[in-house]
Amino acid sequence: MECSEVSNLIMKYIDGDISEVELKLLNKHILSCESCHEEFQMMTEMIKCINEMPEISPPCDLEEKIMNRINREREASSMVNMLIGAAGMFAFAYYMIIFVILPFMRDAGIGQILLGYGAFVLGIIDRYFIGILVYLPITINNLLTLRKILLQDYMNIMIFISGVVMVLNLGLIRIINLQRE
């Protein structure tokens, strides 16, 4: 057997993946070849050293440090979420005012509309007082949970898109106004 083949067998031996025939070949060769014997000795000794390197115990405050960092990061990101959420609400309110309430008011007159709304809302509260008292907290709680879930994944993107659309819209309205003038 050639010496060049031996190093491959040594690797297989280290991997624990050597067949009996190969092991015999390897043994036979290293008994007769000084340099391969030396290589075998050194390689196995070296690997033994690596395998026996002691496990180091990690610092005991590692968990604490990590959890502190996670908490800090979450606080920062929830602030950002709040700001984006507020921007989104603003965008929504803007749309409502521009496209729903204003056209409606222009037709009917502001005072009358406000009074109408007031009477309507009071009527509902009057009729469903007990129901509202019971279900409102539950609904708010559900909405908050929903918001928590939504905020994590989709809400940010949706709000961002609506913000962009709003800005584009403002630009468009401006252009249309300019053209009218």
Binding site: N51, M53, E55, L62, I70
Partner: protein, 190 residues
């Protein structure tokens, strides 16, 4: 308090922070030791472990339960360490003394030789190029199988095997060179 890893992971995904803390306790040994072997210093390993766990927290959703969690943890750890090692290319790294455990049953002389040899091996492993060092750490320190190493590195079996063989040869050559300069500890083995 908690059972299987998957149970903890699901709890983490539901937003339970104490579950994540439990996950950190379970895997800090693996993450820290892998970082320590990759980077070669205790302080750097500590910083790296923190970063790795933060990454795990952020990307926990991407964990694929068909693989062992430890494999995923090691994958994130080695990727992070490889990045660090690439960045610090050319910078000198302080050689740190091995945190050694005293082993019973050795004479003081044997203990000395063993300790010196381990120091040399550690130094040699530290000076390997990152890609080769990674395989030595995964296979010999962490005891991962070839298929697990393939998952961690994303390389084929042939590449993994060749690289590991090459890494061992490089290590041996490095040790030979060091041995010539030093006390001839490795020749004494014969």
């Amino acid at each position: 308090m908690y059972g299987a890893d998957m149970e903890i992971i699901n709890k983490c995904l539901e937003g339970d922070d104490s579950a994540f803390e439990e996950l950190v306790s379970r895997y800090k040994g693996i993450v820290f030791n892998t970082s320590y072997r990759m980077l070669g210093s205790y302080e750097e390993a500590e910083d790296a472990s923190q970063e790795v766990f933060i990454k795990m927290y952020r990307y926990l959703r991407r964990y694929d339960p068909q693989y062992k969690f430890s494999t995923w943890a090691i994958k994130i750890t080695t990727n992070y360490c490889l990045d660090l090692l690439r960045k610090r290319k050319g910078e000198t790294v302080p050689i740190e003394t091995q945190y050694d455990l005293k082993d019973e049953g050795f004479t003081p002389e044997e203990e000395y030789v063993r300790h010196e040899k381990q120091q040399m091996v550690k130094k040699a492993v530290d000076s390997l190029p990152p890609k080769y060092k990674e395989l030595i750490v995964l296979f010999h320190n962490r005891g991962l199988s070839y298929s697990e190493i393939m998952e961690v590195t994303g390389e084929s079996l042939t590449i993994v095997k060749n690289r590991l063989y090459r890494a061992r040869q490089m290590l041996k050559d490095l040790l030979k060179d060091m041995d010539k300069e030093g006390e001839g500890l490795w020749n004494a083995v014969k």
